[in-house]
């Protein structure tokens, strides 16, 4: 495209700057991640002993979702340089030139501000403070600091992804309790096997970008062992809400069965180390881990949302 059009005094807008549409900005929010955040926050909200007014609940969920989206946009702004080097992230809005980095930054900051403000107005200052901390932790602690400096990046950074149910619980009840911390712990322990399964397959991508993921730094064998250890921790932890009464029998049965599945899949990743079967095993674990968390959280939502525990003792 020419820098100057037919009229040499008029500059070509494609050179001057970006004019991105709403779709490109929505893609900055990482909608798929947002959907899991909404579900986990909803679970936290419904697990709280105090019922929440539907409008307050809706506004709080929206604020948490937008806050998570804002953190995603700020993450993409900061990581645009390494996103451009990895096949998995190359087509994201900033590296592909669809959104101006500066606009992404202001977009993320604006959304983060309004999300925290809305949660403070709708729910309470504790929930708003926790949301602000979650955004700060994900953007500053994880994205800017840990991601490029330690193979424990997603272990510690996983706290940001584990906080939404705590925020949801605080929005409904005004407090943080053992129950909400239990939900936090499940997602926190779930994060390493989930991401490392993907990292095993995409290790060349991460190496090219200079991101010190576990398989690049400690090697695939150590990563496989850690995946198995975390899965062995996760399976009983996933059952714990049933033992404490937070989840019903339906939840308990599903947590036991799917937890066993998680360990079996992790053991398969541990044993299968060569060629395409190893890649398949890792990708299957990655997919299964999403299903596992989705199932547990969805069952908590269903049990508490429809009062299954009180009505039928489920």
């Amino acid at each position: 495209m020419s820098m100057l059009g037919q009229d040499s005094s008029r500059l070509d807008a494609a050179i001057i700057g970006y004019v991105s549409g709403p779709r490109e900005f929505v893609s900055l929010l990482k909608p798929r991640v947002m959907s899991l955040v909404v579900l986990t926050a909803l679970a936290g909200m419904l697990c709280a002993p105090e019922p929440i007014h539907p409008i307050i609940g809706f506004a709080s969920l929206l604020a948490i979702a937008v806050g998570a989206g804002a953190a995603g946009a700020l993450n993409m702004w900061w990581d645009a340089d390494i996103d451009a080097l990895m096949a998995r992230t190359r087509s994201r809005a900033i590296p592909s030139g669809l959104v101006d980095p500066g606009e992404a930054l202001y977009f993320g900051l604006t959304l983060a501000f309004f999300a925290v403000l809305t949660l403070a107005a709708a729910a309470n200052f504790l929930a708003a403070g926790l949301l602000a901390f979650t955004i700060f932790f994900y953007v500053v602690v994880y994205t800017m600091w840990l991601k490029r400096s330690t193979p424990q990046n997603i272990v510690i950074g996983g706290a940001a992804g584990a906080l939404p149910p705590v925020v949801g619980y605080a929005a409904a009840s005004g407090g943080v309790t053992f129950d909400s911390l239990l939900l936090f712990a499940i997602i926190f322990v779930w994060t390493p096997p989930h991401f490392w399964a993907l990292a095993l397959v995409k290790s060349r991508d991460y190496e090219r970008a200079g991101v010190p993921m576990m398989p690049n730094v400690k090697g695939p064998s150590r990563t496989r062992l850690e995946i198995l250890v975390y899965s062995l921790l996760l399976a009983p932890l996933g059952v714990a809400p049933w033992l404490t009464g937070l989840g019903g029998r339906l939840y308990g049965a599903a947590a036991i069965a799917s937890g066993v599945g998680m360990v079996v899949m992790a053991a398969r990743v541990y044993r299968t180390r060569e060629g395409s079967p190893a890649t398949t095993a890792a990708m299957q674990l990655f997919g299964y881990s999403i299903f596992y968390l989705f199932l547990l959280v969805a069952l908590l939502v269903v049990e508490h949302g429809f009062g299954l525990i009180e009505r039928w003792g489920l």
Partner: protein, 55 residues
């Protein structure tokens, strides 16, 4: 070249004009939605007191 002169000399393509229109529309819609949401939150927070006359 100052900003005003630069702006008046930028020729946007049809796609860019459409994107700008859509973006403005989305921002307008978001602001209107936020106003409605804050109104609803206020009414819920006031509760039954909203209907009581001032003492």
């Amino acid at each position: 070249m100052d900003d005003k002169t630069l702006q008046s000399n930028v020729a946007l393509t049809a796609d860019q004009l459409r994107n700008r229109r859509r973006r403005n529309f989305a921002i307008g819609l978001s602001v209107a939605f936020l106003a409605a949401l804050f109104y609803a939150i206020t009414i819920v927070k006031l509760g039954p007191n909203a209907l009581r006359p001032m003492p």
